[in-house]
Symmetry: C2
Subunit: 378 residues, 2 copies
Amino acid sequence: MKLDQLDTPAALVDIPRMNRNIARMQSRLNALGVKFRPHVKTTKCREVVHAQLAAGANGITVSTLKEAEAFFAAGVTDILYAVSIVPSKLPRAMALRQRGCDLKLVVDNTRAAVEVARYCAGQKEAFEVWIEVDTDGHRSGIAPEQDALLEVGRILHDSGVKLGGVMTHAGSSYELHTPDALSALAEQERAGCVRAAQRLRDAGFPCDAVSVGSTPTALSAEKLDGVSEVRAGVYVFFDLVMRNIGVCSTDDIALSVLTTVIGHQPEKDWVIVDAGWMAMSRDRGTSRQTEDLGYGLPCRLDGTPLTDWVLSGANQEHGILSPAHETQQTTNLATRFPIGTRLRILPNHACATGTQFPEYHALSADGETTVWSRFHGW
Amino acid sequence: MKLDQLDTPAALVDIPRMNRNIARMQSRLNALGVKFRPHVKTTKCREVVHAQLAAGANGITVSTLKEAEAFFAAGVTDILYAVSIVPSKLPRAMALRQRGCDLKLVVDNTRAAVEVARYCAGQKEAFEVWIEVDTDGHRSGIAPEQDALLEVGRILHDSGVKLGGVMTHAGSSYELHTPDALSALAEQERAGCVRAAQRLRDAGFPCDAVSVGSTPTALSAEKLDGVSEVRAGVYVFFDLVMRNIGVCSTDDIALSVLTTVIGHQPEKDWVIVDAGWMAMSRDRGTSRQTEDLGYGLPCRLDGTPLTDWVLSGANQEHGILSPAHETQQTTNLATRFPIGTRLRILPNHACATGTQFPEYHALSADGETTVWSRFHGW
């Protein structure tokens, strides 16, 4: 189907842009001499992940056990579940390992380590566990110099669990927007994770994997000495938040929401479209950045940005398109955007927008679309 | 299954609270002498809608054609699709009517009216169309005194389309928080919609239905003279936004997200849980209200609110629980909320949180849960 035949709203993936994004990240990390383990939470879509693996990625990162199960069923075996494990999730994780999935778990505290060790004692199969390291204070993990790092290492190692490595995610990179600040954070992320690995090794524990990453730091690191692999997710589609951070251009954004003009409020210079927050998500990530793009940046059907307009408001199934600048003169809204006009809205956050849709419509260079299913839930 | 056996995160529906909310709205509208047409966009769930209809509702309101198709398949025939129609959606809507669904469409502009009339001319079946009226300037619709109201009425009526009525939604009620302001807006909504109906009738057009509503105005209207029916959606579960508006109490909120403690950051007084924005949604509706509740209000497993805590931050699968008040003393986080502790988070916005989940776990008074499937997409 062509774009003018699809029901709206619909999530579009521009395949040439996606492939360019995949090639850019993979070649960058190849040049830095590290492996790449894409985070599939962004897309939850087989076709995308197969393209990432075909380009040279080694294994995947998941944020839920459902992702692990779905991609193991799709033939991926090397999987890192990058959220600290809790006892109630161990049986479901073990079931995957017993079926041949090389699923690696993460812990960042002694209690969870004890529980994993205790669970493994009753099983024929041991888990491989990585320790989460906190290199920027934004969320989870054990700081590289904390005593708990070695305590967790010891609990795991002494119980026969395979201590596979350390991992960190400098998610505070989302708050930056200059190359210098980004490369400095990338170095902080690298150095902290390498230091944690060194402390574990110095204490006599194995620590093969040293895994770092976020899209902004992965694209800003100048060296990755001591790192074995990088993780990143949103780079595959990019979005307006990434554009404002400065790691992609508007023309790199591969995800957009196809929408139709359904009304006008001429007194207020409003164009009403059928992409509300149910389509765009409630993510307002650009509201804290240098350029606030509301719920998204509208484009013509051919992808040309309409930079004088912004999706300024969103109800559940109604979006409000309005002038981006207060002084802007708008006349003849109904002539410029007649009822039935199709537009494409670039999203703030590709992970959040994607999950609103049961499928992507993947758009080839020739203008044809193909349905790529995606899943949600846990 | 009991709450301690469910995988987390999970969306819980407290059935006794839901039934109480349904009974409250239905008995209120019965007393006011109007019919009730619940908006099913909140839940997209058969069990919930059947409970609403069993309590006395007349027909349903939908926000997408997928909802119309799903609920028609579930036996509901009286359906109002409350988003202004565009030409590309007419064949899918007509297919429902031809299968026996009494699907009513909405328009708020002459162009759409012309297109509906033109489409019907080529069909054996005519649509029934209602005109959307703008009574508070917050989104779509034609103001009651505008010329366009009669123009649209004439286009529809003269072409043989059944002009079924007028409908309005005073969505600006979400910005209020006092009973006086709410009842004043309810009266404005009522009076504007009745006036629009009167103008159409005075011009010689039929206008049976006079449909108004939003949850806050439906619960605040003192009289509904001239109104034939009320629509409301979120009242069935309520949420923190509705609590801050003042139309429900915390104890009325029937939707919560079951979550598990997965980590701590003691230096920052953070408890990390496995309900991030993927579970809660990115909706920050309370951020503009008198009490900002972050991404949600945590409760014990039995539902008792932990009013000293708030879900202050959310990554995709990580939520950050922190003290609600800066001066608060917190000690022994790991003793108070050990790894594996289960909590329930009340959401800002039930419509947005619900859609993050493929199913609800409906919780009976005896503590047993039942899976209630829900759908998403268009």
